[in-house]
């Protein structure tokens, strides 16, 4: 398993770092928040990301991508995590394009992937229905009527739901509520009649929405994958997304930690730098150790996604390891970020608060640490 970046990956990481620091610093997110921006991300920044080719990094060349793998997309996500960049990179690229590429038919891939890469199509995944992540617990129904399906139900925590052109909707076409069989995915135009999308204002200032489906009619060609067999394919897409999110979290965690260390080296109390206090030093050293483990996991799991020899279960175990561990460590480091900055850490003027807000959203998205430890134990058969 490659645990160290190769030269090309390191170059991409350096250029992504440059771009994010220059064009998309944290002040961009602050401004989006303060102006109550309608689309919730900076259109100019997104256009530049598109021109850098970021939307096609992990997409095969046959569909207009650069076939640079998830290790490539991962380093970009990591750097965007350092500046808390809000963009369609996660909902549309990491999740949307991956879903089309993994599950879509040849014609769907040929039609949709080039559009995503060009920025002509934004996607959003409509999956969760309750307050906690439970991907097989689907009650939204799709009922077959002749050549169309009627979708009825509601979804929550839909990232970019209010700006997406199409939603990837996880529905139940058969089976009981919490069954993995009977799940079917559809691509639904966001302007379909009967579809109501309400933006929700989230603590991390990123886009999310609640979506209601009231007999939304979709043609059978809009089905993504096979009827009733959607879960296994979906779960793999979710695993890729979980690993990508872990990469983003790694960037944010490192940024908070760097800011903590800088502060410990400049803040004076009792006539000395507070970084000389053992009570703070040991906590910093403990965080450092945990972050080193996180780096290894993120490198290893991204590399695993690019390794065709690994099977679905191996990827699932790695994804749960990554999401569980990164969630724990982001929790720790974001809390320490506020605490170790003292009073100033509590002020809105200071940036550290943005990280603790993003941390909780990222922790919960696609399963928190408890969810993934439970899943890991189940995969390991205990």
């Amino acid at each position: 398993m490659a645990l160290v970046l190769n030269e090309d990956q390191q170059m991409l990481k350096d250029s992504a770092k440059n771009f994010c620091q220059q064009s998309s610093p944290l002040s961009v997110l602050r401004k989006l928040r303060d102006t109550n921006d309608e689309i919730g991300f900076d259109r100019q920044v997104w256009l530049q990301m598109l021109s850098l080719g970021w939307a096609g990094i992990a997409v095969p060349e046959a569909y207009g991508g650069f076939n640079f793998g998830y290790s490539g997309l991962g380093v970009v996500l990591e750097e965007s995590g350092r500046t808390l960049t809000s963009s369609p990179l996660i909902p549309s690229v990491l999740i949307g394009a991956t879903a089309i590429n993994e599950i879509g038919s040849e014609s769907q891939k040929l039609e949709l992937l080039p559009k995503i890469i060009a920025g002509e199509l934004l996607l959003a995944l409509a999956l969760d229905e309750q307050a906690t992540h439970a991907p097989s617990n689907i009650t939204t129904t799709a009922t077959k009527t002749d050549k169309t399906y009627l979708i009825q139900g509601k979804k929550t925590f839909v990232l970019d739901g209010h700006v997406a052109d199409k939603l990837i909707v996880v529905t139940r076409t058969a089976g009981g509520t919490d069954k993995e069989s009977g799940i079917t995915l559809f691509l639904v135009d966001s302007d379909s009649p009967g579809l109501e999308i309400k933006r929700t204002s989230m603590v991390d200032n990123r886009n999310s929405a609640q979506v209601h489906f009231d007999d939304v009619k979709v043609p059978s060609e809009a089905m993504l994958g096979e009827e009733g067999n959607g879960f296994i394919a979906l779960d793999r897409v979710l695993d890729i997304a979980r690993i990508g999110i872990a990469a983003e979290m790694l960037g944010s965690i490192q940024e908070v930690f760097d800011r903590i260390i800088d502060y410990l080296k400049q803040r004076e109390q009792f006539g000395v730098l507070i970084g000389s206090f053992q009570g703070l030093q040991h906590r910093a050293a403990t965080m450092y150790s945990e972050i080193e483990l996180c780096k290894s996991i993120v490198r290893a799991t991204l590399a695993a996604l690019d390794n065709p020899d690994l099977d679905r279960i191996e990827i699932a175990e790695l994804a749960s390891i990554a999401k569980a561990k990164l969630s724990e460590v982001y929790f720790l480091v974001s809390n320490e970020g506020v605490q170790m900055h003292g009073g100033i850490g509590m002020t809105d003027e200071f940036d550290i608060g943005f990280f603790i807000k993003r941390a909780r959203v990222a922790q919960q998205f696609l399963g928190d640490a408890t969810f993934h430890r439970d899943r890991y134990a189940t995969l390991k058969k205990f």
């Binding site: 160290v4 040991h282 050293a285 439970d374 134990a377 390991k380 205990f382």
Partner: protein
């Protein structure tokens, strides 16, 4: 690439022909080979395996051939280790000479010292012990007081050491001594080697809370040591001492690695894995019935996997010929804490069957768990306490200011 592929296939063939069958099973405590003047081979095939490895220098594959090592480069060493793991091969030799003294002799010793000592380490002919801690010098190691006085062509050593692992079984000692009392404490220490059979040395085992006695007290009473046995420059021993500690930490951190695959080094017993043990003692079939313990075990296994990946990454990142760096403190600390966690979880998994001390009512494995649980408590004390490792990370890795240096009392 082709050359490495060839190396892999020839290594695989050689191992197939030369590694005895019983050496391809999980190591058991009694069969560990420590070497020395009076070597002990519980399993005769251990000797065969050691001799064959030593002949190729593969007990120390990366050391130069000139000093008996295998002369392999980093890539070849990684391949050899992968191939050894592939057949589950036991280490041919376990020794402080390999893991601690050898690497610093290669870095700081003179040619004659290397020529005299390294080949014997490779072949397991001399067993070494470590003279570091003293009764008054634990975490504050540099305050050590064992004295070496130059008298003509030799030093006369007086003082005592404590926590000397296997001093009663070792042939030679690498020892920190004070050669100057009139300078700041770090500047008056030297690193010296001597024969434990020298006149004036006595050892006394220390019984631990686990009942085992791997450690000794060691007393030096006018021990005469040739001046040529001093390694590096006079009074510059602290540099060597710290370097050796990095190697020691890397060695100790590997205790945590055993938790990677099976949780107790690959045995097939009921306590081979934490979850297996927990389910066995609860009579569970498909799912561990205690949800809290299940979560704790999952968390442990996730941390273990992450730790193993980190150890691998640190090897990948280290450059050719470059030994461990300050991250060795992180690995030592995390590995030891993991190992302690493993035994605490194992105690919970076994319930009251983990509480026996000896005799009837408990099987041998259960009794071993009790003892190993107690022994594991030393992991975060030996080789520098966890608190000392955190200090090292804070100072050397994170560059945080050192309040102790203001008081001139730091280690």
């Amino acid at each position: 690439m082709q050359a490495l592929d060839d190396f892999r296939s020839s290594t695989r063939v050689w191992l197939e022909e030369n590694c005895p069958q019983s050496m391809r099973t999980a190591m058991v405590q009694e069969e560990i080979v420590w070497g020395g003047r009076q070597p002990h081979y519980e399993n005769p095939e251990s000797k065969v395996w050691l001799d064959r490895l030593a002949e190729k220098g593969w007990t120390c594959p990366a050391w130069p051939q000139e000093y008996g090592g295998g002369g392999l480069n980093k890539e070849q060493t990684i391949i050899l280790n992968e191939e050894l793991r592939r057949i589950n091969a036991r280490p041919g030799l376990t020794s402080f000479g390999i893991s601690m003294l050898g690497p610093v002799l290669l870095e700081y010793g003179n040619h004659e010292q290397k020529l005299e000592h390294l080949p014997k380490i490779v072949r397991g002919e001399i067993r070494w012990c470590q003279g570091y801690s003293e009764p008054g010098s634990g975490s504050d190691l540099a305050s050590l007081k064992t004295k070496a006085e130059l008298q003509g062509d030799h030093y006369v050593i007086n003082g005592s050491k404590v926590w000397t692992s296997y001093a009663d079984k070792a042939d030679w000692i690498f020892c920190l001594v004070r050669t100057d009392f009139d300078v700041p404490k770090h500047a008056g220490i030297s690193f010296i080697l001597f024969d434990m059979a020298s006149e004036g040395i006595t050892t006394k085992p220390i019984q631990l809370i686990s009942g085992a006695s791997p450690f000794c007290e060691t007393f030096f009473d006018d021990v005469k040591v040739p001046a040529s046995n001093l390694v590096g420059r006079l009074n510059d021993g602290w540099t060597i001492a710290k370097r050796l500690l990095q190697h020691e930490r890397t060695m100790i951190s590997s205790f945590g690695l055993a938790s990677g695959q099976s949780d107790r080094g690959g045995t097939t017993s009921t306590v081979a894995s934490l979850e297996g043990a927990a389910m066995h003692y609860r009579g569970d079939k498909d799912k561990l019935s205690d949800p809290v313990l299940r979560d704790e075990i999952a968390q442990f296994k996730i941390d273990s996997a992450a730790f193993m990946l980190t150890s691998q990454r640190s090897i990948e990142e280290s450059k050719q010929g470059q030994g461990p760096n300050a991250t060795s403190s992180m690995l030592k600390n995390y590995g030891c804490e993991l190992n302690k966690r493993r035994y605490e979880i194992l105690m919970k998994a076994l319930g009251s069957q983990s509480l026996g001390w000896e005799g009837e009512g408990f099987n041998a494995e259960e009794l071993l768990v009790t003892r190993e649980w107690l022994r594991s408590k030393a992991n975060s004390i030996e080789g520098g306490t966890s608190e000392v490792q955190l200090n090292v990370i804070a100072k050397r890795v994170l560059g945080l200011p050192d309040i102790l240096s203001m008081n001139k009392t730091n280690q």
